[in-house]
Symmetry: C2
Subunit: 495 residues, 2 copies
């Protein structure tokens, strides 16, 4: 899940969209091999005002697949970014596929990566961008999977030859397990809920399906960020909480601005209050994003970070500090994140964690239309500057900046809100270090829709490739998932 | 379900759209009382290209409702017609509501009755008509029910007041049982499948959810029509099968045309082969529509008919006949349907069962876009002239006449096709005299998704008001439904 900058934007309205956007980066070539394929799907699955089709991208690897033995499809429900990036960061799927003889498919989400319905114009105005919704995306995946599991010949025959011959000829069904992390986990869970005849089961990792208006306390997110810092070092969150005032105080004078610009090695010197506010927003955003990817080993899912990055930051803030001491220590902490190789000469507030990429633009659209996920800060139970949740301002902001209308209750209405008692065959896993866990499903909701809690894990750590530094609970959880997958597949074949 | 004239249109391409359209008529004032209300819903629930809202109509009666006792909402998922007509013809719901202390709601389907998204322009071109889909309609019902079960005040508070106060304040849930017959039954079943957190259970009466390409043998429909005639009188279907040739033979000569025009008392004399083809199509269509509403007592759901109308027809064709004898007997049979009061002076082929109304126009759109329900005739196992199913021609015809694109596999893909093993709390009832039963669910599909077969019933007879002439199985079935409803409601309150 990309932390939506819209929330921060409301705190600091001067900051342009995308200025704080974390980037998803692949970090070089993928460790996995696949073919890249394309498939045409309708732009609009639910109305007939527009017959346009577009080409969605998907990645496929059939080298392990044994379809005649009833082996499954492992299907990654692509989320907000280039699908190659998710393929590179979802090692658990790759590592599990061989023992299940599974067909591997990573489907790219419409409006991301190479799956742009209207090319460069896709986000230019509502008549093009308006088809960027979760429901349309799930229907893309239905069409893709139906095509993958049905030979084209059968369909043609069925269409054009009259008579009984091909009627009631059932396509051989294939068990399908959907995987997804973050928003992709939400999609995976919803995919099973809405299309249970197609999708056998879903692993929804770190999927905050309840981080929506009316379903959740908007404070939980910031509280979890704060506690993730507190776990590493008791003084750390208290220091961060004091940071904002310390920056403001220095920001009030020319000398203070100069001191910060020099001592923080900013590429562009701070000139005024706006610059100071931007810097605070940038730091806030960094703490959030780093809390999300607070993995026990170096990783580059949202930027190139050391292992245990929160610990690496907090070790510099390990005792109560004030004023310039606090800022100096904070700078060391930020260096541990953004310059741990030591090669950067200066900090660029708009580039570290801040490269605007298409993925983030499109996520802004989704945040403005239906993915309204309230987050607020009070500065007491969390270490941020107070920032109330204000849906009215949020909606206005979306209208103004993106020309998009907001339907804040659309997702709870269309996907059942908290009333999931009929859901089946879904694993909701949440790392308790992950700020998004507060919007996740943390208790079993039915016999086969279960919650897995991972105390020492951040955002969808369990979906990543195995690593010697993984917490034992994550290693255990992956074994548990595979056991459940086997049960789903066995039940499927018993039908 | 209105028998789609598109199928016949392919047989007789000269016939204009709607010429054979059965009409839904209320038959005078409703025996039930309700308030008429309106509710604004988005025209497009699944994209953000169009922010238009429209006013949907619904009928509501809260005189029996005891919300504080956990009483349910009985919700009729309106189908292809004026909702008042369905309210008048769904007596079972009205008769059951008092003992359940239920709130009664009949929701009107978009593009029918008074629920026109774009007024008179609604069907004028795809940019207006294109939002007429089952998925959009179900979302309308979600929005309406969410509104009915949530006080507006709560929502406002949640939106505009910041903070914890209103968070996690759960709206009191209300059990909702959806009812529907025919296409409305399909909607009811899908409503439960897609929105099980909102809809507690569904009674789907005569819902041919499998009358779609690839799911069903297109011959079943015509075979059931034929057997419904055979049950009444063994010779009857054989005579009907010979009728087409008999008409054609007379139609070859001027004398023959005159003979038919005079002896059949046609308001407009037959002039040529086109007129003859139209007449045959009109008779075919009449046999189908009468088979659907072959009720044991006089009714006026699709025109004003006597009780046991198939019997009333077949008693005139009770022995093998040929030529003019056959036509004379057939005329007597048709008189039993369309002139059983004896008041009509002549037959108007384009008016009996043929008043074009808005409902039918909109159903043509649905048939052309996603409600593609293959029906074919072979003249051997059924009594019709052979008419193969030709999807290619069907699609071309839709494009030509309505400018609409067809997605023949959209419904099977989006609603799970035959893979319903996870469905729960649905009753699929089918009258075995009903031609649509062949596309229905005739076997239990899961523990709580059950099939009820009614041997002596036509199209959704069970949903109609009780009548002394009802077959005992229908009376029993209604008791069974209420028992199931009680279980659903009890289970709901146990959660």
């Amino acid at each position: 899940m990309l932390y939506s900058i819209l929330t921060l934007q409301l705190l600091f309205p001067v900051i342009g969209l995308s200025a704080l956007a974390p980037r998803i980066c692949n970090g070089g070539s993928s460790p996995y091999t696949y073919k890249t394929e394309y498939f045409d799907v309708p732009v609009d699955h639910f109305a007939f005002t527009n017959d346009d089709m577009f080409r969605m991208r998907y990645l496929i690897n059939d080298s392990y697949w044994k379809p005649n033995e009833g082996a499954p499809i492992f299907f990654y429900t692509g989320n907000e970014g280039d699908i190659e990036s998710f393929a590179a960061n979802t090692g658990f799927l790759w590592e599990s596929a061989p023992e299940f003889h599974a067909l591997i498919v990573f489907a790219e989400h419409r409006y991301y990566g190479h799956s742009m319905p209207y090319g460069n114009k896709s986000l230019s105005e509502p008549k093009y961008s308006g088809y960027l919704t979760a429901e349309q995306t799930l229907a893309d995946y239905v069409y893709l999977l139906t095509n993958l599991t049905t030979s084209a010949r059968d369909l043609r025959t069925d269409i054009f030859v009259n008579g009984k011959k091909n009627v009631n000829k059932r396509t051989k069904r294939i068990p399908i397990i959907s995987f997804g992390g973050s928003y992709g986990g939400m999609l995976s869970a919803w995919f099973r809920m809405k299309y249970p005849g197609l999708v056998t089961g879903a692993l929804a990792s770190s999927a905050p399906i309840w981080q929506f208006p009316g379903l959740n306390d908007c404070h939980t997110f910031a509280r979890i960020v704060t506690s993730a810092f507190e776990i590493e070092e008791k003084s750390c969150p208290h220091n961060v909480r004091k940071l904002w005032t310390a920056i403001d105080e220095l920001g009030n004078s020319k000398e203070g601005l100069e001191w910060m610009s020099t001592n923080w090695k900013l590429c562009n010197a701070l000139k005024n209050k706006t610059d100071v506010d931007n810097m605070k927003a940038w730091i806030s955003s960094a703490t959030i994003n780093v809390a999300m990817v607070n993995y026990p080993y170096p990783a580059n899912f949202l930027g190139d970070l050391p292992g245990h990055p929160v610990r690496a930051f907090c070790k510099h803030l390990d005792e109560p500090m004030e004023g310039k001491d606090l800022l100096t220590a904070t700078f060391k902490g930020l260096n541990a994140w953004f310059n741990h190789s030591g090669s950067a000469k200066c900090f660029n507030l708009s580039s570290e964690f801040g490269t605007s990429d298409l993925g983030l633009d499109a996520w802004n659209y989704q945040s403005c239309t239906e993915m309204v996920m309230p987050i607020c800060m009070d500065g007491k139970q969390d270490f941020f500057e107070p920032a109330p949740w204000d849906l009215g301002a949020y909606v206005n902001d979306c209208k103004k900046t993106l020309k998009m209308s907001t339907r804040p209750y659309s997702i709870p209405k269309l996907f059942g809100g908290k009333n999931l008692e009929t859901a089946s065959n879904i694993i909701f896993s949440n790392g308790l270090l992950d700020p998004w866990a507060g919007g996740g499903v943390l208790k079993n909701v039915s016999e086969s829709t279960v919650a897995v809690l991972l105390p020492s894990a951040a955002h969808h750590l369990d979906l990543r490739a195995s690593n010697n530094l993984d917490p034992p609970t994550v290693t255990m959880a992956r074994k548990f998932y595979k056991k459940i997958f086997r049960k789903w597949i066995a039940d499927f074949h018993k039908q």
